[in-house]
């Protein structure tokens, strides 16, 4: 009888958990208690890393330092170019009357665990709801897209990787803009493009970038490089295999991306409202719109968002659009947690340093 009761209870729980959202808070609270297990389990590896770091020789460190400096120099050079190119891009887009590109803000996170089930590709990171992580948030590493957040707990989050067999991402061939959908295969080194016509212009070595069409991943981030194209006359579609550019099973440090998920119209509206409020309200007072941010801590959100309209316009050098010059940080979108996120985490940084790090990413408008 007890078995029957417990089985029924389990099945009921599963159905509720699968179909409704009502159990999510319970889960995340339990996760708060249980997630230190992952941290503990990683402890030996962490200790070992720390030990080896302690006893590496001075010459190794100096060599590494040397290498990093050279790398930094190279990157700096590229960035110098990038600033000019960004300006140019904004101006050209203005000429074309399309909305300005919005710079994404990122937050560094560290991997703390790998899902014990070998048939899924999920990882655990050390940032959670308290850091502004939200469901469906894209995750990057240094070389490309890694996946998206599928479960948020107070101080941790679970990330589904691109190569999980239940995951697909809309991509574009960087060379010619050909759109496709890259699905995970369960193999950490392989993605497959679904339903690519046999005659499509796609070659080995093509870079696939995210197209942003699913409105979940930001566009333009590298996803994979094509490694194999098989034209089989017996198959209705070409078989295209690609290898993810991100080191999905090696990266330890990841970046969480905060994109502006509002439409250009909303953005324009918000910036107009913010401008009005900045004109009316005395400086330094919390705007009512900022309190509505869907975050765990609306109170810290208000003071961080409020000073933005009061600051001089010189803080957004990246936008040439007259509309976009009015800072519009006062009202983040429903799932946009940029407000509370930027100040508490020292590691939060912009992807492009052409915008000063103190200011939230500029938002262009129509």
């Amino acid at each position: 009888m007890r078995l029957l009761a417990l089985v029924v209870l389990s099945v009921a729980l599963m159905v509720v958990d699968a179909r409704f959202n009502s159990l999510k808070p319970v889960r995340s609270e339990m996760g708060l208690v249980l997630m230190p297990f992952y941290w503990l389990a990683e402890m030996p590896a962490r200790l070992w890393d720390g030990m080896t770091e302690q006893i590496t020789s001075r010459s190794t460190l100096m060599a590494e330092n040397e290498k990093l400096k050279a790398e930094a120099l190279l990157m700096q050079r590229r960035l110098q170019k990038l600033a000019a190119l960004t300006e140019q891009n904004v101006r050209l887009r203005e000429l074309l009357n399309s909305s300005a590109l919005v710079d994404d803000e990122v937050l560094a996170a560290e991997l703390i665990g790998v899902d014990p089930n070998p048939y899924t590709h999920r990882i655990l990171i050390d940032k959670g709801e308290k850091d502004g992580v939200f469901l469906g948030q894209p995750v990057l590493d240094a070389s490309g897209l890694m996946g998206q957040v599928v479960e948020v707990m107070p101080y941790t989050a679970r990330v589904l990787l691109l190569t999980d067999s239940t995951h697909s991402i809309p991509v574009q061939v960087n060379r010619n803009g050909l759109r496709a959908i890259a699905s995970g295969t369960g193999n950490p080194e392989r993605l497959e493009l679904r339903h690519v016509a046999d005659t499509a212009d796609i070659k080995v070595g093509d870079l696939l970038v995210s197209s942003g069409l699913g409105q979940r991943f930001p566009s333009g981030y590298p996803v994979a490089t094509v490694t194999e194209v098989v034209h089989d006359a017996g198959q209705p579609f070409a078989i295209v295999r690609a290898m993810p550019t991100a080191a999905l099973n090696r990266s330890r440090y990841l970046l969480l991306v905060f994109t502006d998920q509002r439409t250009p119209e909303q953005r324009a509206n918000d910036s107009a409202i913010a401008a009005e409020q900045a004109a009316e309200a005395p400086a330094g007072e919390a705007t009512p719109a900022s309190g509505s941010a869907a975050t765990a801590e609306p109170t810290p959100a208000a003071p961080t968002a409020a000073p933005a309209p009061a600051t001089p316009n010189a803080t957004t050098p990246n936008t040439a659009t007259p509309n976009a010059r009015t800072p519009s940080t006062a009202a983040p979108g429903p799932s946009d947690a940029r407000g509370p996120d930027a100040p508490p985490s020292p590691s939060s940084e912009q992807t492009r340093p052409s915008t000063p790090p103190a200011v939230p990413a500029d938002q262009g408008a129509q």
């Binding site: 089985v7 699968a18 159990l23 070998p118």
Partner: protein, 163 residues
């Protein structure tokens, strides 16, 4: 045995915590496929020898914890572990009489059944079906591990008079 006052119950919970820890501990990729069912192993030992304290209720709670830890649907592991506890309780009188290797054999079947239910639930929950035979590898590993577990836990139980 029933009716004796509880003694050193924290040891049981400590072993469960260790079981949960081991079940998420990082492992090399080729060994991951054969990761033993640690929680189920600890659970079956305690259900077998301290049945008046550890039973299906404990198994269910433990399963919920495992669900949160693995990120599966709430209730999935709970169901599986309840099933393990139920089967062990059912066979308890006989199992306690068996020599160690025979216990291993019976537990092989019990874990196998539980793992098949888990596979079935996994597929119901929407993940694509993994290959069945590798999926049953943890069962074999767990059954082979049972004698060692048994000896270690018996040492702890008699030393600390866990009741």
């Amino acid at each position: 045995m029933i009716g004796t006052r509880p003694n050193n119950g924290w040891v049981i919970w400590l072993t469960f915590a260790i079981g949960l820890l081991l079940s998420v501990a990082p492992m090399p990729e080729f060994m991951e496929v054969g990761r033993p069912l640690w929680v189920a192993l600890f659970l079956s030992y305690w259900t077998l020898y301290v049945p008046h304290r550890i039973g299906m209720g404990t198994a269910w709670l433990l399963g919920l914890a495992a669900d949160v830890l693995y990120g599966t649907l709430l209730g999935q592991n709970a169901l599986v572990l309840t099933l393990v506890a139920f089967l062990v309780l059912l066979l308890q009188q006989r199992l306690r009489m068996f020599p160690m290797w025979q216990q291993s054999l019976v537990l092989l079947v019990v874990f196998g059944l539980a793992q098949l239910v888990r596979l079935w639930l996994n597929v119901l929950a929407g993940s694509p079906p993994p290959p069945t035979l590798p999926f049953l590898l943890p069962v074999l590993v767990s059954a082979l591990l049972w004698p060692w577990m048994f000896v270690a836990l018996r040492g702890i139980r008699t030393r600390l008079q866990v009741n």
